[in-house]
């Protein structure tokens, strides 16, 4: 039987091509994901492990826990502790580490890197072993800095240049005295690192006289654990914690691989979708092959093959097809993995170097996925093949499409769809997170239900296209009828496209609605003309607010100052605002009381008021971080949102209790509203700091929109694979249909339909099937988008459903394009067919 199966595969090479391609794409996606994530995480691990070369034992400060009404104090690593560590037996030397944020501007004043990996630190002593200097010398004093070689190269900085930096607001203009090399993972990943001398770094990062970490190097012959033991003995155990370099490296590696596994799982989900869509094509192909080979299979049965042998021969074919597809897919996947890495490189996201990692697990997974998916999808057609009676070999009739009633199928489909819709509707009435699981279940049920029902749906939906098809005369009429001729086949083909479009539409609807609601929230609550914040979400120095207040035309300024406190034994963050200005800068709906901030009067958002049981007039005691307590009065309760929430009190009340004030944002209003000139003035006042964003409401909306666009584009890219597989499915179905109908096509040619007409007929059939899938997918997607929105909307006051009509039109157009492209080759084939041999062939 194996030989027969193998011969069959070889004989139907062309017809199996699309199946192989479909499986191959799925497998390539899977193996590409694995290769890419393994390679990246290995490279990151290596580069971070290198970063721990200089550390044998790291000493860090242990924080006290928050207890009762006091905020846990952070212990400090002082110079005394450092000196003590260096003298521990077995220690070669000890380095004090200070780190923080430093944004570096390039020569055009633009921020280098994304801002999230812009680091600052200290150059310890005269020669810091962590940072070998490639050029120049170590920085000394407040006006000198050393930068890493990658950043220097990227921005074209040389020793002696003046560079613009920012730590928490004010712009610094030190001179570059040295350029150093580093294996720091963040730098390798496209970030930047600026080093100051230790005293400057301590001052800039707000930690005068203290360190973040003490790295102790072991003397020759002393192991990391021995050194750790010695340090533990010498240092006060209640104030510090010691960790060996190996533990640090291991922790880091684990962190990297766990963050990579999130990415990996995300990508594999999309690979799974592509493969799932692929199964439709495989099943379709094998069903058609079995139907076309009815006589052959019957002959096998007639000469004595058992049913099981017939099924097995189909499965062996599937195995061979799957194996070929899996191997080619694996090779393609390795290419994709390598390509993705270099693509990231060209996009500016620097990835640490490292070899391409192809694990046996990757190879095994790729092969198993390819072979199993194919065999699973071919199983039903194989069973159907076994049911062909031996007498079919004698009949001269062509195998007819199974005319088995669709009643059972439709009943089942209706049950599934009904259950799906019911569960989803029930889920929309539930509370946020409770509804998620039922919503997912309902979505799966509904998709399965609709898939089962597609043959039933195909007739009325395609009939609806009749007026459109009439324009194309006889070709249109024949195309429409051909497309409903075998409802199961049409359904499977259209479903493949449906799945991709459902997801794409659903995501688009959800993203669009969310974007609108977040945008509304942000812009409706903010009355300020400008909002000033750090590019990376870091905190701003209070200087920023002071500087802004002095700018010409600025009428109202308020910071949003963040401070921890304890209320009723719970940690609660306070927001310090300018009490006289905040009412003019925000527009928050007041639930009860008045919006009054000043002295001991504070306002609280509704959720917090509810959880503490407060209303206007309530009083409560707050314990500030310096340990002092104060009695405050709730003047009003407002409706908070994603951007503004919490307990707002006057900065005059709050600031005396803070050691370092830091602001999340500064809001301001100007006498002449928003204008380019005003924005320019504000930016200039801040020293044109690249790390600080000055945004008006439109900028805020734009940056929200940008975030959503980026996310959607990524999803589109990933789902494109599923659509691509669906295209292969349409090509496949058409090619097979054309083959099966060659006699009809020959006859049509003979009685006078020209090649153009034949081509048009095939193309229109393809268009009808694709549009059918497209309409189903868009419809389902809108429903899912609506349902998910209902679930999310319950938690968002400003949520409203936004139907992206233009996008939906684009998706429908996409479906139509898919149809036309997929028909190119089958239509050509049909038109080129030799009509004489077509008529005679039987």
């Amino acid at each position: 039987m194996f030989r027969t199966a193998l011969r069959n595969v070889l004989a139907h090479k062309a017809r199996l091509l699309m199946t192989v391609l479909a499986v191959m794409l799925g497998v390539a996606f899977v193996s590409g994901t694995l290769v890419f994530t393994n390679t990246i995480s290995e490279a990151y691990q290596k580069s971070s492990a290198k970063g721990f070369d200089q550390v044998d034992v790291a000493v860090t400060a242990e924080s006290e826990k928050d207890k009762g009404n006091t905020i846990g104090k952070r212990n400090e690593l002082t110079q005394a502790l450092l000196d003590q560590s260096a003298k521990v037996p077995g220690a070669a030397n000890a380095i004090g580490v200070v780190s923080g944020f430093t944004a570096i501007a390039d020569k055009d004043g633009k921020l280098i890197g994304g801002g999230f990996q812009s680091q600052g630190g200290n150059y310890y002593g005269a020669e810091d072993p962590r940072y070998p200097l490639a050029e120049g010398k170590a920085p000394h004093g407040a006006n000198q800095v050393a930068i890493d070689s990658r950043t220097a190269k990227r921005a074209g900085y040389k020793v002696g240049d003046t560079v613009r930096l920012s730590v928490d607001g004010p712009v610094l203009k030190p001179v570059i005295t040295g350029i150093f090399t580093t294996d720091d993972g963040n730098v390798a990943a496209g970030g930047s690192l600026a080093l100051y001398d230790t005293a400057t770094a301590q001052k800039l990062f707000g930690k005068p006289g203290t360190y973040d970490e003490i790295d102790v190097k072991a003397a020759a012959g002393t192991s990391q654990t021995a050194l750790k033991a010695a340090l533990d003995k010498a240092l006060p155990a209640d104030r510090v914690e010691t960790t060996t370099g190996r533990e640090l490296a291991d922790d880091q590696a684990e962190l990297i691989s766990s963050s990579m596994s999130g990415l990996k799982q995300g990508l594999l989900v999309f690979a799974g979708i592509a493969l799932f869509v692929g199964t439709f094509i495989i099943a379709n192909t094998f069903t058609m092959l079995v139907a076309q080979r009815t006589k052959e299979l019957a002959l096998l049965r007639a000469v004595g093959a058992s049913r099981r042998q017939v099924t097995r021969s189909v499965l062996i074919e599937a195995f061979v097809v799957g194996l070929v597809a899996a191997v080619t897919g694996l090779v393609a996947g390795i290419g994709i993995g390598a390509g993705l890495r270099s693509l990231m490189g060209t996009l500016g996201a620097t990835v640490p170097d490292g070899p391409l990692i192809i694990t046996p697990g990757t190879v095994g997974a790729a092969l198993a996925v390819g072979v199993l998916v194919t065999m699973l999808a071919a199983w039903l057609p194989g069973r159907r093949a076994a049911k062909i009676p031996p007498v079919a070999a004698m009949s001269s009739l062509h195998a007819k499409a199974t005319t088995k009633s669709l009643v059972l199928r439709n009943t089942l489909g209706a049950l599934f769809s009904g259950a799906g819709v019911a569960v989803i509707l029930a889920a929309t009435t539930m509370d946020g997170s409770d509804g998620q699981a039922p919503m997912g279940l309902g979505a799966v049920l509904l998709i399965i239900g609709v898939f089962i029902l597609t043959p039933l749906l195909s007739r009325p939906l395609i009939a609806a296209a009749a007026p459109l098809m009439r324009v194309f005369g006889i070709s249109g009429k024949l195309a429409r009828q051909n497309s409903v001729r075998n409802p199961r086949r049409t359904a499977a083909t259209a479903s493949a496209l449906m799945i991709g479009l459902t997801l794409i539409t659903g995501m688009t609807v959800m993203a669009g609605s969310l974007q609108k609601s977040i945008d509304k929230m942000a812009t409706a609550a903010v009355k300020a003309d400008y909002v000033v914040s750090m590019a990376n979400g870091n905190e701003l120095s209070p200087d920023v607010e002071k500087k802004l207040a002095k700018v010409d035309g600025v009428t109202e300024v308020s910071p949003l100052r963040n401070a921890a406190s304890r209320i009723d034994g719970e940690t609660e963050y306070l927001t310090g605002v300018n009490g006289s200005a905040i009412g003019k800068l925000t527009d928050l709906k007041v639930d009860n009381g008045t919006f009054k901030v000043g002295g001991t009067d504070v306002v609280v958002d509704k959720d917090r008021a509810k959880s503490f049981g407060w209303r206007a007039g309530s009083t409560f005691t707050v314990h500030y971080e310096d340990g002092k307590a104060q009695r405050l009065t709730v003047a009003g309760v407002y409706e908070g949102n994603e951007l503004i929430s919490g307990i707002m009190l006057d900065t005059a009340t709050l600031s005396p209790h803070l050691r370092d004030a830091s602001d999340m944002q500064v809001m301001l209003k100007t006498s002449d509203g928003t204008s380019d000139a005003t924005k320019d003035r504000l930016e200039k006042a801040l020293g044109s700091n690249p790390a600080i964003k000055v945004q008006d409401k439109k900028d805020l909306s734009d940056s929200i929109a940008q975030m959503f666009t980026l996310m959607l584009n990524m999803l589109y890219g990933l789902l494109a694979m599923a659509v691509l597989v669906a295209v292969l499915g349409v090509i496949n179905t058409l090619a097979m249909s054309v083959f099966e109908r060659s006699q009809e096509i020959g006859m049509l040619r003979a009685i006078g339909l020209d090649r153009k007409g034949i081509k048009r007929m095939v193309r229109l059939e393809s268009l009808v099937i694709s549009l059918f899938g497209g309409v189903l997918g868009i419809g389902l997607g809108v429903f899912f988008g609506w349902a998910a929105g209902e679930l999310l909307g319950a938690r968002m006051a400003t949520y409203e459903l936004v139907l992206p009509w233009a996008r939906m039109a684009v998706f429908l157009l996409l479906a139509a394009t898919v149809g036309i492209l997929a028909a190119l080759w089958p239509a050509r084939r049909a038109a080129r067919m030799n009509m004489l041999s077509a008529i005679k062939a039987e």
Binding site: I474, E744, G746, R749, I751, G752, R755, G757
Partner: protein, 256 residues
């Protein structure tokens, strides 16, 4: 019947092949399917082409009907020379001037009987002549079967639909390729009767390839082909005459 036999036109020629040759392959493997065949098919005449398997009878019909290309010689349908026509023009010629009846697969399974009958006119985008269509349908006796699909019709009924389709567009000439090959003798007789009636009563021109002497007896004239050449012809044939000729011919073939 509204039509009268057109006596004056019997002498004019509907289709003509002159020195027609069709050669497959080259050199050693060369096969001559048609060897300088010259034949005329007169209007309002029912011609049967006969010959043993491989004699070239189907090839002759395909070449004259514009379904196949030929190596040399000329073919004319009415005044049109086929050799110089491009595929598009040939298709148009087949659509407008020629009717076809094949052995099998004459009908599109998705269309009803009526839609199948009007298919050539639908392709051309023409409205069928209602009166003529009615008389053709009446003649083949399909009045109450028009809404049926081919799968709901018997083999004989399907072939009658094919005859009606060939007649409906009033072609200059109808070609049949073993039109009764797949039918039982009663259904076959019916179909041949319709073809003969269309010639006698409507003045239609019909050319039919067959290997069945009984079918050939319905024709006005039989042309015999062997080894790509016309070897004889017979007017007013009967089944016995034809059978005798074939036997004699077979015997000759064996001894030569």
């Amino acid at each position: 019947m509204t039509t009268t036999p057109v006596a004056g036109r019997t002498t004019s020629v509907a289709a003509r092949a002159t020195e027609l040759s069709k050669i497959y392959g080259q050199g050693e493997t060369q096969v001559v399917a048609l060897d300088r065949v010259t034949v005329e098919f007169r209007q309002a005449e029912f011609t049967a082409i006969m010959g043993p398997s491989g004699s070239g009878k189907s090839t002759l019909m395909h070449c004259v009907a514009g379904l196949d290309t030929f190596s040399s010689g000329s073919v004319r349908i009415g005044e049109t020379e086929l050799g110089s026509l491009k595929d598009k023009q040939l298709t148009k010629l087949r659509r407008d001037k020629i009717g076809f009846i094949f052995q099998a697969f004459n009908l599109l399974p998705t269309l009803t009987a009526l839609e199948n009958i009007t298919l050539p006119m639908d392709i051309a985008g023409r409205k069928p002549d209602k009166e003529w269509l009615d008389s053709v349908i009446r003649m083949v006796g399909l009045r109450d079967r028009l809404g049926h699909r081919p799968a709901q019709l018997s083999g004989g009924q399907q072939q009658r639909v094919a005859v009606a389709r060939a007649l409906a567009s009033k072609p200059d000439i109808i070609f049949g390729d073993e039109p009764t090959g797949n039918l039982d003798s009663r259904s076959g007789a019916e179909v041949l009767g319709f073809l003969r009636n269309s010639v006698r009563e409507l003045g239609q021109t019909v050319v039919m390839v067959t290997h069945d002497p009984v079918a050939a007896a319905y024709a006005d004239r039989v042309v015999f082909l062997a080894d790509g050449r016309i070897v004889d012809e017979m007017y007013k044939p009967t089944a016995d005459n034809v059978l005798d000729f074939m036997k004699q011919f077979d015997a000759k073939g064996r001894t030569s």
